[in-house]
Symmetry: C2
Amino acid sequence: MTQTAHLTVEGMSCEGCAKRLREALEGVDGVSAVAVVLDGGQVTIAYDPTVTTVAGLREAVEETGFDAVP
Amino acid sequence: MTQTAHLTVEGMSCEGCAKRLREALEGVDGVSAVAVVLDGGQVTIAYDPTVTTVAGLREAVEETGFDAVP
């Protein structure tokens, strides 16, 4: 089963930022797909809710130094 | 006692990248000062070697998604 989470992430200002965030989220167990729109900081994540949670996804965002807006 | 480490970090492409890397290193216990030069990826870190190590500094770099070149 796959669910989709939408996060707004602050702090991305170049394609390198977006790439690093995407790779960090792709590295989370249970995540199957990540789309990052640099402009506006919109991040869409497909994940298996039996493996990870939105809280876990937010944690991965914060670990890279970006802020996941509530 | 303070020692100084020089690392070369790949993957920074904007001032936001440099800021996030600097903040990550400043958050490491034992680190007293960090200077990041975006162009060329030169990072200079003042740290207390009784609290952290160059390996610990490299780990903090990698956690942000950047690469610390050997």
